[in-house]
Symmetry: D2
Subunit: 357 residues, 4 copies
Amino acid sequence: MSNTFGKIFKLTSFGESHGLAIGGVIDGCPAGIDINFEFIQQQLDRRRPGQSIITTSRDEKDKVEFLSGIFEGKTLGTPIGFIIKNQNQKSNDYIDIKTTFRPSHADFSYQKKYGIRDYRGGGRSSARETACRVVAGAIAQQLLSLKGVSIKAYVSQVKDIKVDKSYLDLDLSKIDDNIVRCPDLNIAKDMISLINKVRNDGDSLGGKITGVAINVPPGWGEPIFDKLHADLAKAMLSINAVKGFSYGLNDIDISECLGSEVNDIIENLDGKTETNNSGGIQGGISNGNDIYFNVVFKPVATIMKKQQSVNNNGEVIIIEPKGRHDPCVVPRAVPIVESMTALVLVDHYLRSKTNRI
Amino acid sequence: MSNTFGKIFKLTSFGESHGLAIGGVIDGCPAGIDINFEFIQQQLDRRRPGQSIITTSRDEKDKVEFLSGIFEGKTLGTPIGFIIKNQNQKSNDYIDIKTTFRPSHADFSYQKKYGIRDYRGGGRSSARETACRVVAGAIAQQLLSLKGVSIKAYVSQVKDIKVDKSYLDLDLSKIDDNIVRCPDLNIAKDMISLINKVRNDGDSLGGKITGVAINVPPGWGEPIFDKLHADLAKAMLSINAVKGFSYGLNDIDISECLGSEVNDIIENLDGKTETNNSGGIQGGISNGNDIYFNVVFKPVATIMKKQQSVNNNGEVIIIEPKGRHDPCVVPRAVPIVESMTALVLVDHYLRSKTNRI
Amino acid sequence: MSNTFGKIFKLTSFGESHGLAIGGVIDGCPAGIDINFEFIQQQLDRRRPGQSIITTSRDEKDKVEFLSGIFEGKTLGTPIGFIIKNQNQKSNDYIDIKTTFRPSHADFSYQKKYGIRDYRGGGRSSARETACRVVAGAIAQQLLSLKGVSIKAYVSQVKDIKVDKSYLDLDLSKIDDNIVRCPDLNIAKDMISLINKVRNDGDSLGGKITGVAINVPPGWGEPIFDKLHADLAKAMLSINAVKGFSYGLNDIDISECLGSEVNDIIENLDGKTETNNSGGIQGGISNGNDIYFNVVFKPVATIMKKQQSVNNNGEVIIIEPKGRHDPCVVPRAVPIVESMTALVLVDHYLRSKTNRI
Amino acid sequence: MSNTFGKIFKLTSFGESHGLAIGGVIDGCPAGIDINFEFIQQQLDRRRPGQSIITTSRDEKDKVEFLSGIFEGKTLGTPIGFIIKNQNQKSNDYIDIKTTFRPSHADFSYQKKYGIRDYRGGGRSSARETACRVVAGAIAQQLLSLKGVSIKAYVSQVKDIKVDKSYLDLDLSKIDDNIVRCPDLNIAKDMISLINKVRNDGDSLGGKITGVAINVPPGWGEPIFDKLHADLAKAMLSINAVKGFSYGLNDIDISECLGSEVNDIIENLDGKTETNNSGGIQGGISNGNDIYFNVVFKPVATIMKKQQSVNNNGEVIIIEPKGRHDPCVVPRAVPIVESMTALVLVDHYLRSKTNRI
């Protein structure tokens, strides 16, 4: 198990989907920061199940309780411990899977690795743990905003419905104007219709999220292994259901271009470039331009259809649909992508402070 | 700087492109392993410049010298130190860039981060350091082969010329039958022609590499943050010129599918699935099926064309083409992708040994 | 801040003395281990304040609540989150020190480091956090006992009252037969008398703890930096009020001996030696003999006497005695020393599993 | 194996005593620092064998070659790779121990751990590797001196000949005025006589080194686990032949004092205290006063006397004295203690930069 993320600003996370609570410890948060608790809860609310008609009906309030590390509203520099109690669990929904392995779920691989698993709601493999990432990420975002950095993410694709424009041509203030979190309102409507249709079919669908970080100063990123984009890639791929990551030029496939077509011409000593096909990072270090990237989500494995599998005796069985169903997790993943971006950036900000004496 | 990769089996790398030597230290390699030095050199030869007519003419032998950690042909369990001396440097080719920042290179971001840089050949930002990864990766591959695991990578795309078939429908024993390292010999010919044409134009092109790991047992990967595919993503994105990574289903875009179309039905308690759209990993843990993934390379930034930039006084200048030119680094990146895959897998193999008492 | 201990079996700790709760996350605990909750609580009870007449009257139950990582009594391999709620805080006792820096306490150094501090009860610098170490250590002890390893610690000195015998000549089953945790009952009586006398004087006293680990197999310890005794030293020095550590021969000062007097003669291929002046470790690796060491505690800084100091305006002030007072923390530190020993050993046990393929 | 020391400023070390070379990689060294190569070599010369009549006659020049990370005399921020070639090895002296385990050496524990060992000169367990620590430590000292911090160490005891004074009452500029590195010249003479006598007897002796760090600003140290003194303890115990560490008050045993006798009264907001029994650290964080500590060395295991042992068939054998002999390594360990102190302090300096935004 590896449940710690970051080298200086570190989140250590714990908790199973149907245990008493999930929670975490943030170690390495600088001291003296005023914490905006409302913002943290807002981000949790954007992630929580039951928030809109297109998500699962599992309804959890996801109220975070801070136990340490904050005194009179300010960070102490000491570890910030927090918990989110689990509620509205319907563990009985999962009795059937105690002895079976659901297709494209982690039941089998966890069982093989550990010889034991908490089968209720997927246990530790459930995306429920991402709530802890959002708590830490919301604090990280507050630190970054003190340095002028802002982070935005939005749904840029649901199944084959895509936003063709660059983030530069969208109004990112509109991301939360609709429940699918796509800033193009017409495309958002189509996405919502499709999700509803697929939900009624008992099926699931994937999509893509575009993430953007604005005002990152040059100099963040630690080659050769902790390149800024490599850490972003790892951060994104660590989110449940994510299958791919790319950064920079993404309306066309950069691998199909010539060097002369995509090289970014530097205009001045601030590092601003005419184009930004590089996505704001050169050699693994931010160069002062916007950082942007794409995250690919598969359709989630839970569907309301009969599926064949095997049980723990190796017998072929049919799994009947049961429980609650989230046809498309991509809209709920928007604050998670923002949070993981913030965790990577704040860690690299702090690390960059040690590059010179 | 972060020049160590891995948590148990760790490579620490050093060296600038035009310094005296590059090298590394492998710490955490298990004791008692017979080392096949020829295999290490073979992998270095597959990566080295000047190996064929489609690569740069910089001709370096890349002979590795082991200084410690191996005794009478076997690993001691102690750190394996090694160096590769730099040769055939033409540092004078780089005098011009002492005061200028090349487009889409890391000159600017390194200068901003550190306030100083070794401008000769890109210094530390040069892909020259990947030779050290190949040394360590070749040792990792030998360990993995003792566990039955084999790793293959091949060029599956050069610019818009693509191998449309799955790796399952290709003869992977033919990868090195041609200089572009594409196992489909007809497509390989087209790729070589295209590279030669683009070289003559003084331009560069990108492409894709497909990586495959066969016989990985279930249970490798450390959720929630060090998921096996998350570590693979980071490993690949840490390679120079890589812009994207995805794993599993890759002839079509998994984000455009329905859950019912891509869920993998488990057939038996070995974990073998009817389809393998998941790419051999569930919940971040290997499930016993083949692991496969795609790595996206941009066209390298060095081209033999005039380009505009700024110098360190902020003046707009024209950079004249000079030095040697590698139009398409993707074929040389094949052993690097194999090596980084091996480093991730061997580290997770060793980590998995601690999952149970 | 660095609140994580261990490389494979890792404890991450959080909590201030007068916050809502303290707690921790144990990551890397192997799966499938039956947990003996009673033993954990027993160890907490041996550490808790108010346990006997010679300790502080702060009376806290220190009941641990496990939130994750354990399912149907067994470890899951996932992170074990736990909390201990703070009770019986008398924060008002500390209002006075909001603006003053107590002598030989960490008030000043925390304030300088972070620019802010939770002054109530010393905040994070209080030894209250050691309860979390005991929770994790008690689980570590259970794992170790499955490998046959047992750990014992006892008070071998209080001020100038010393146990002169080696641990080999004591009956370690008697450690808890008295409240000072010294297995020599006569000496224990003297220690208790002295502690009571000093308590009445409003003063404090230090002492020493001897730790012993029996049945550690050869091969644990990771040179050259994570030598087994180096990690033990760090573990012990990280405990509040500890000033020194030594291992091996400790009835006389090994630095005053000749090599010919203290070299340990190996008797057989189990590694058993005639003498064990080396303390069971050679070259940083256990050699199969008993591991034993001494830990030196200063008298705690809180005394019930007037003391001069400065306030945060730099004015000289007199601090009046107030609050509760623990004249000698050494007996309560016995389970902490055992716990830190267990954390070091279990981590090295797991690490040693990766030394060979 | 764990051959990396530090979290930000990291030394990774490699090399066996009789291999081709030892060496290391310093990663995380800030950029733009002018390197004084002479100082590095001076420190190496103070450590090297054969430097005076009281050390071993193994005569090695220990010339360090830097391979990367330094450009035109300044650090680049990139990893600093270096090697020291091994010379004057008399591997034949060790043929006899190929199949035997020397008393109080690491031959047995290495063999048990790894199933293989480089028996020549102790291989990796030889103190030869400490030369690499001196290289990195000398660079760390240069960084610290830019922050005003200076480090001194001296021999304060050889067997039972002791310097009774505090470091404050000694003239530390005289440390290198004699070959035993004791600033009290009369005591130094006695120490040298004793070492010569014991050498002639073929025996060995231990001693103590006192280390002092002056001008460390308040705020360095990362509780609760990476307390400054805990990291110093680990650093010292990782040095060959070290058996103990204590910090602060050391002319008498602090565990025998009352709190009222040893509490340090703070005098002003710089943190200066009337006494400094705490040794410059409170709660694991420097408080602005001098840091000082004691390091205990056992007599080294190699003696020129017949000793009993077992061979790898379990047969009792007699080991005849052979090879070269260093009767007292303590004087040569002075620069090693300084170096490890510097590595700890520079790492904590860099870490402290991230405590506030």
